[in-house]
Symmetry: C2
Subunit: 426 residues, 2 copies
C-alpha cells in the first residue's frame, strides 16, 4: 500500500457532463493507487483500512489543467498590455525570452514560475519554454520536483524573429529538438517533452516538415497557436498560400491532431472550415480568455465549440494573461462570453459556471487521459477548497458554493492538492 | 501637531492628468494636518521636525474611491451570475435585502462588508444600504469606526418591488428618509447620508418629487442607477413617458446634478442627449465594469466619456460585481474596453492603464473634493504598496510598476493606508 491509498471526506463536486455539476454532501471519495474509486455515503468494506482525512465543511473538486502557459513570460506579466499580439511579441516577449540563454537567470525565474503553479489550483499543465535547450531542461527539472504533471516544450522558431532569438536553420532547430527529446523523453516521471513550433509565422515550411517527422518518429504531442489575431491570420495567409486556412498550415505537416494529440491555443477567429478540421482531427482548443482580452484579440465562440463537441480546456496564457490562476481564467471566460454575446453575436449564448468548470477540469484534463473528474476510474487530481471566508454555512448548495468559488477563490483557499493521488505541497 | 503631520519616503505615483502618471523615485511626500504638501527630493526646512516613515522600495499611490457599491449584497457576491439585471434583482437581490429588517443580521453582515473594505485599497466609498433605517444606521456606525470616509444611502423604493421590501407610500418613504437625515446628518465625522432613490422603476414620481424637496432642504448629494440594461431602459420609457431620456426622469425632480452632487452608476447605454445632460449638470458616472460584464449589460464608452470631460470614477458594484477590489475594477475596465473596441465599436479606443488609474483615484475622488491625488493641497489619502512578490528590482520604472500593480495586486500588497492623513488599519 502506498500513500496514494486514502479516503477524503467532504463536499464533493465534479462535472457530470459539459453543463451539469455532480455534487455530494459530506461524502467519502476513495483514492486507490492514485485512481478514484468513486464517491460513497458510507465507506465500502474493502476500503475500510485506508486512512481517512476529514475535510469538514470544505469542498473537494478536481484539479485544474492549464492547457497553455508560457513559463519564460512570467517575469513581465501585467506589463505592456496596450499592444496587440505582433507588437507585443516584438516589444515585450522576444527580448525577455532571449534572457533564457543564461542558465542562472532561467533557474531563478523558472523557479518563481513553478512556485506560483505549485501554490495554485493547477495539477496539470502544457508549458511553452523558449528555444534554449539548457534552460528548457532546467524548467523540466523544476516541474518534476514540483510533483505536478506537465508537458514542457522547447520552442522552435527559424524565421520572422529577432536575430538574437531565431534558430540558425530549420535543420539546426530540428536536430536540437531531436537531441532534447532523446535527453528528456524518458528522463522524468511527471514531465514529458511536447513538440512546440511557436506559430506558423515563426517556422519555415522546412522546419514544420522536420518537426512532423520527429512527431512520427517519437510519437510526441504538439502544441502551438492558432487564429488568435486578425493581423496574424492575414500574415499566415501570405506566408502559406497553399494552406486552405491557418490550421491547415499545421495539418499539412502532420502537426494538427489526427495521430498526434495537439493543443491549439486561442482559436478566436477560426473559420467554419478550420473548426470542422479541428473537430475531425480531435484537436484540443486552449481557450485563454484573459490573454484574448489583454491583447484585444477578441473572444472565441466557446459555447458553440462545446455544443459541437470540440475538445476545449482553459489556458492562463501567461503573459498574454497576467495570472496563472485558473480560478481567474474561469470567471473571465464567463465574463468575456457575456460581452461577446451582448456586443457581437446573440446566436452564441454566454458560458455558464458549469461549462466553465468543465473546461477547467475535464475539458483540459482529457489531454492527459482520464483526468479532470473525480468519478470512478479517473486519476485522482483533487483540490480541497476552504471557502469559509465567504460562505454562509447552511445557506448554499454544494453547486452554488462551487459557482461562487469561480468568482471569489484564489490560491489562498487551497488547503490541499493531490496529483494522481500524491499530496503536493501548496 | 497631530499624527496627521508626517513624511513618507518611497516611490510615488499619482495622476498628472487623465492620461499621464506623475512619478517620483525615492522621494519625500509631506502630510500636514491631513493635507499633502507635495513631493520633494529633499525634505524642506519647515517640515524637518515631522516624523519620517521610510517605505523603502515600496510604491506610494493615492487611495481609491469606490463610487458605487451595495453593502447588503455582499453576502451573496458571486452567485446567480447567469441572469440579466431585472431577473437578478428579483431572484437574488431583493430577498437578500429584505433580511436587513433584522438588526442582528445587519450587524453581522455589514461587519463583514466593512472589514473587507478596510483590508482593501478603498479610502472613500459611496454606498447603498437598504430601505431599513435601523440597519442603515448600523452600517453608518461601522463605516465610521473603520475610519474610511463615505456616503451611505438609505434606499427609497415605493413601486415595482416585492411587498416585503416596498415602502408603504411615497409619503412614508420620504418622511422616514427625513427622519434618518435628521438623525444621521451631523452625527458622524467620516460618514454622511446621501439620497438614494434605487432607480426610476422603483420610485413613483411622487416619491421622486419629495426626494427632490429633501435634497433642496438638506443640500444632500444623490446616488442612483442609469441606463444599465436595455430592458430597464425600455421600462423607464414606459413608466416616465414625459422624460426625454432616462436621466431626464431624475433631472425633472432635481436629482441629476446641477445643484446636488450626483452619482449615476453604469451609463452603459446612455444616448447622446443623456450624455450631454450629464456633462452640463456635472453628474458623476460610476463605471462598474465587472457588474456590467456579469449581468451581460454591455460596456460603457468610457474613453469617450473621459475625452469629452465627463466626470468618471470606478465602482465595484458588489454584488453585480463579485469583489470590492478596485484593483480588479481597474484591470476589468481595461479588459472590457478592449472587447468593446474589438467586438463593437472601433471608434472608441481601449482604456489605458493611466486612464484607469485616474478613474480609480482622482476621477472618483473628486466627488469628495480635493481627493484622489498626492499633489499639493489634496487630502492625504494614500496606499503603501509592496509589489516585491512580482517586481524585479531595478528593471522597471515606477510607472511600469504601477501598471503591473493594476493587474497583479490585491489587498495583500497593501502595507499601509491613510485616509485624510489618518493611518487606518488594513
Amino acid at each position: 500500500m502506498t500513500d496514494a491509498n486514502f479516503i477524503l471526506k467532504g463536499n464533493i463536486c465534479y462535472s457530470r457532463d459539459i453543463s451539469r455539476f455532480q455534487t455530494y454532501e459530506k461524502s467519502y471519495i476513495i483514492c486507490e493507487r492514485g485512481i478514484s474509486r468513486g464517491v460513497f455515503d458510507v465507506i465500502p468494506e474493502q476500503y475500510k483500512t485506508f486512512p481517512l482525512f476529514d475535510c469538514g465543511e470544505q469542498l473537494i473538486i478536481p484539479g485544474f489543467t492549464d492547457l497553455h502557459v508560457h513559463a519564460p513570460q512570467f517575469p513581465f506579466r501585467g506589463l505592456g498590455m496596450d499592444m496587440e499580439l505582433l507588437d507585443w511579441l516584438n516589444t515585450n516577449t522576444f527580448p525577455e525570452e532571449a534572457r533564457y540563454g543564461d542558465e542562472v537567470y532561467a533557474r531563478q525565474m523558472y523557479g518563481k514560475f513553478v512556485n506560483e503553479l505549485k501554490r495554485g489550483g493547477t495539477t496539470r499543465a502544457c508549458i511553452f519554454a523558449t528555444v534554449h535547450i539548457p534552460a528548457t531542461k532546467i524548467l523540466m527539472e523544476l516541474m518534476e520536483e514540483s510533483g505536478l504533471i506537465s508537458y514542457v516544450g522547447k520552442v522552435n522558431m527559424d524565421r520572422n524573429s529577432p536575430d538574437y532569438l531565431r534558430e540558425e536553420s530549420a535543420e539546426c532547430s530540428a536536430e536540437d529538438t531531436r537531441k532534447w527529446i532523446e535527453e528528456t523523453g524518458g528522463r522524468y516521471r511527471f514531465t514529458k517533452p511536447i513538440l512546440t513550433p511557436r506559430f506558423t509565422p515563426s517556422c519555415t515550411d522546412e522546419l514544420m516538415r522536420r518537426l512532423g517527422e520527429l512527431q512520427k518518429e517519437y510519437q510526441l504531442p504538439v502544441q502551438s497557436h492558432l487564429s488568435e489575431n486578425y493581423q496574424e491570420i492575414d500574415w499566415v495567409k501570405e506566408l502559406c498560400p497553399a494552406a486552405a486556412f491557418y490550421g491547415d498550415a499545421y495539418d499539412m505537416f502532420g502537426l494538427f491532431g489526427r495521430g498526434p494529440c495537439t493543443i491549439m491555443a486561442h482559436c478566436v477567429h477560426s473559420t467554419e472550415a478550420e473548426q470542422k478540421r479541428m473537430k475531425e482531427n480531435g484537436v484540443f482548443i486552449a481557450h485563454c480568455p484573459e490573454s484574448n482580452m489583454n491583447l484585444a484579440s477578441g473572444v472565441a465562440p466557446v459555447k458553440k465549440y462545446l455544443a459541437e463537441g470540440q475538445r476545449v480546456g482553459l489556458g492562463s496564457d501567461v503573459a498574454g494573461g497576467s495570472t496563472t490562476s485558473i480560478f481567474r481564467a474561469m470567471s473571465l471566460a464567463i465574463q468575456a462570453s457575456k460581452l461577446r454575446w451582448r456586443l457581437k453575436d446573440e446566436t452564441v449564448n454566454p458560458l455558464t459556471a458549469q461549462e466553465t468548470f468543465y473546461m477547467a477540469t475535464r475539458g483540459g484534463g482529457e489531454f492527459f487521459g482520464k483526468v479532470g473528474s473525480l468519478e470512478t476510474g479517473y486519476e485522482f487530481d483533487a483540490l480541497v477548497i476552504d471557502d469559509s471566508a465567504w460562505d454562509i454555512p447552511g445557506r448554499y448548495t454544494v453547486g452554488e458554493r462551487v459557482e461562487r468559488m469561480i468568482y471569489l477563490a484564489d490560491e489562498r483557499c487551497i488547503r490541499a492538492k493531490y496529483v494522481a493521488g500524491r499530496k503536493c505541497s501548496v
